[in-house]
């Protein structure tokens, strides 16, 4: 599946270059359901969600806790597979994939940004950014080059050899964004990226997402803060495992 035509982008393509807005769907969910079973009790966390997100969109997914928001994020991030329904990510059907293929799909198609940054404390910023590239089997020289480019893009070109402990929260999240960009993924998936940041750093990181959006990246942001969601061009509300609303807003960058 890794060699399916049209799904694998070339290594020479630099992050955020040459991608056009609104052509191919990056995410295509068709009646996706996810059921959890605890003993004999079944719980349907997602009860039939259909959703299309096209290339270059900046989408915020909102919902209260228990709404199925996290489950949806796990499925979108290929961390989990739906119980039923179809999920095509950048043209690939990931709903039937096994663990190994999912890991590869995550590696190639998705750049994660987490609430808790999830940087490895023992590694420098550059080596943290290199991590997904090393899992992709990219050689050391290319990896270093791509990591430096990604760090420059998030404004940390002079911090490549700093460890996370030597950086501020906002800078750490910027490193995490650089890590998400390094593989030039089809989708940047951010899970509460500003949840652990003060207002200055929040503005800083959100500005970065605006820049990514402006440069043509597809960004999906999961949040419960209306202020954060307001930056996106499209806001989707989840409630009780169903799409409650899906509205195109003005957004900042549009």
């Amino acid at each position: 599946m890794a060699s399916r035509p049209g799904t694998r982008r070339q290594e020479t393509q630099r992050p955020g270059t040459g991608r056009q807005k609104a052509q191919h769907p990056v995410i295509e969910l068709k009646d996706v359901r996810k059921t959890y079973r605890t003993g004999t009790v079944e719980f349907e966390a997602i009860r039939g969600v259909s959703l299309t997100i096209t290339q270059g969109e900046y989408v915020a997914i909102m919902g209260p806790s228990g709404s199925g928001k996290s489950t949806l994020m796990n499925i979108l991030g290929c961390l989990d597979v739906p119980t039923s329904g179809e999920y095509h990510l950048a043209g690939e059907d990931v709903s039937e994939m096994d663990e190994v293929d999912l890991a590869e799909a995550r590696n190639r198609q998705i750049g994660f940004v987490f609430q808790q940054f999830n940087l490895l404390a023992s590694l420098t910023a550059q080596r943290n950014v290199e991590l997904p590239l090393s899992y992709a089997g990219v050689n050391r020289e290319t990896r270093a080059e791509l990591a430096k480019l990604a760090l420059e893009r998030v404004g940390l070109g002079d911090r490549t050899h700093h460890r996370p402990g030597e950086l501020s929260g906002g800078q750490q999240q910027r490193v995490a964004v650089a890590r998400a960009l390094a593989t030039d993924p089809a989708l940047v998936l951010a899970d509460e990226p500003t949840g652990n940041l003060d207002s200055t750093a929040t503005a800083d990181v959100l500005g970065l997402f605006d820049e990514l959006h402006a440069a043509g990246s597809t960004v999906v942001l999961i949040t419960h803060e209306a202020e954060v969601a307001g930056r996106a061009a499209r806001v989707i509300h989840i409630h009780d495992g169903l799409l409650a609303s899906d509205e195109v807003t003005a957004g900042v960058a549009s």
Partner: protein, 410 residues
């Protein structure tokens, strides 16, 4: 992910937790060092036995008077002094004993003071025949050995051990010089090459005279024809038991032995003495190796323990690595590499400590330690195998973690 990167990330993880890694390796280190050292001790003991065997000749029979198998009978004159030079001559018969190549009777040893002018040195003097050299597998560094003419004439000639010669003559060639024993001058006719020492005696500090000379001049008294031991060398190793039978029947006939209880001599083979010693030391060595292996297993459990803690503690990291594209196989490899690096480090250091101990130990105790390269390589391989073996379970636990749960863990 490339192997280089997997090893690098394993090394990073080990470096991050320095103290923990050192302590974990320490368990392996102690185990491997103990194995290397005990094997070294065992092999050293074996080597010593083999050296003795080679020095004495593997096809050697020792006929001693009396029925006791202990060596203590050796110096005692009296009722059990039943062997004579005539017995030795009878054993030399090619027709009666075709499988016996050489026979060397040895007189009871006497501790005598040897004088060279103002220099004197007390050593053990024994009388024997020309075959002694062959039978004991010794050689001369200079001069000649006691010959048949010396025996016949009971000449006042003497052959010195290398240490004895240097004590008396220093660097000078002693051949042609004379030493006096109880005011009687003896001409030095040869010096033995160095043979080292066995467990009880220094083989290089002794003096040899013709057996007749010893019997007439040094021992005196009534036991002029008696000998302390007769060394018998078989024609070859495989004929040793035949030689044993021949010697036994010749002596039984000569001593009119009719039943087992009236046997007044004992024939021991060097082999039997040595195999007893080596089987005892072998048992001890095996016991020690067993204990060392137990400590290796304990070390391995230490690795497993730490790896399990490590997996637990780094759950988030594992989740992250999986989210970024780490497949279960790669995660497993990373943790296995970590465990085997710990094992390898412990193993290498353990071999180092073992070798160092093997160098130091002989200064404090008499046991020799032989370090052999194949065993060291095996020890290192075992150390890695222990790392991998005890790392499999923790690594599989890491590989099986669900990325969602792992990322959510605190």
């Amino acid at each position: 992910m490339r192997w280089g990167d997997i090893l690098r990330s394993a090394w990073d993880a080990i470096r991050t937790h320095k103290l923990r890694s050192i302590l974990t390796s320490l368990g392996i280190l102690i185990g491997i060092a103990a194995v290397v050292l005990t094997v070294g001790l065992g092999q050293g003991a074996q080597k010593k036995v083999n050296d003795q065997l080679a020095a004495l000749g593997g096809n050697l029979l020792i006929v001693s008077p009396g029925s006791s198998t202990s060596g203590g009978i050796r110096g005692g004159f009296g009722s059990s002094t039943t062997l004579t030079t005539a017995d030795a001559d009878a054993l030399s018969s090619k027709t009666a004993a075709p499988d016996i190549a050489n026979v060397a009777p040895v007189s009871s040893s006497a501790s005598e003071e040897l004088d060279n002018g103002s220099t004197n040195w007390t050593t053990t003097v024994v009388g024997t025949t020309s075959d002694w050299l062959t039978v004991r597998g010794r050689a001369l560094s200079t001069g000649r050995f006691v010959d048949a003419a010396d025996e016949k004439q009971a000449s006042a000639v003497i052959v010195l051990g290398s240490d004895t010669a240097s004590e008396l003559f220093g660097p000078l060639d002693p051949v042609g010089q004379s030493v006096t024993i109880s005011s009687v001058p003896y001409e030095v006719i040869g010096v033995l090459t160095s043979a080292g020492s066995d467990s009880t005696t220094n083989l290089d500090d002794q003096a040899i005279v013709p057996i007749s000379t010893a019997q007439q001049r040094l021992v005196g008294g009534t036991s002029r024809t008696s000998v302390a031991d007769i060394y018998v060398k078989a024609t070859k190793d495989s004929r040793l038991s035949a030689a044993y039978q021949e010697a036994n029947s010749i002596l039984a006939y000569r001593h009119s032995v009719t039943s087992g209880s009236s046997t007044d001599f004992t024939i021991t083979t060097q082999q039997s003495v040595i195999s007893t010693t080596s089987s005892v030391s072998g048992t001890l060595t095996n016991l020690l190796i067993g204990i060392a292996c137990l400590s290796l297993i304990v070390g391995g459990i230490g690795v497993m323990n730490i790896m399990l803690v490590s997996v637990k503690e780094r759950t988030r990291e594992i989740g992250l690595r999986k989210a970024l594209g780490g497949t279960p196989a790669i995660i497993r490899r990373q943790f296995l590499s970590e465990a085997s690096i710990l094992g390898l480090t412990g193993g290498l250091l353990g071999v180092g400590v073992g070798i160092a101990a093997a160098e130091i130990l002989p200064h404090f105790m008499s046991n020799p330690v032989a370090i052999s390269v194949p065993w060291i390589l095996l020890a290192i391989a075992v150390a890695i195998a222990i790392g991998v073996g005890f790392g499999v379970y923790p690594a599989s636990r890491a590989a099986k973690l669900s990325p969602i749960d792992a990322l959510r863990s605190e």
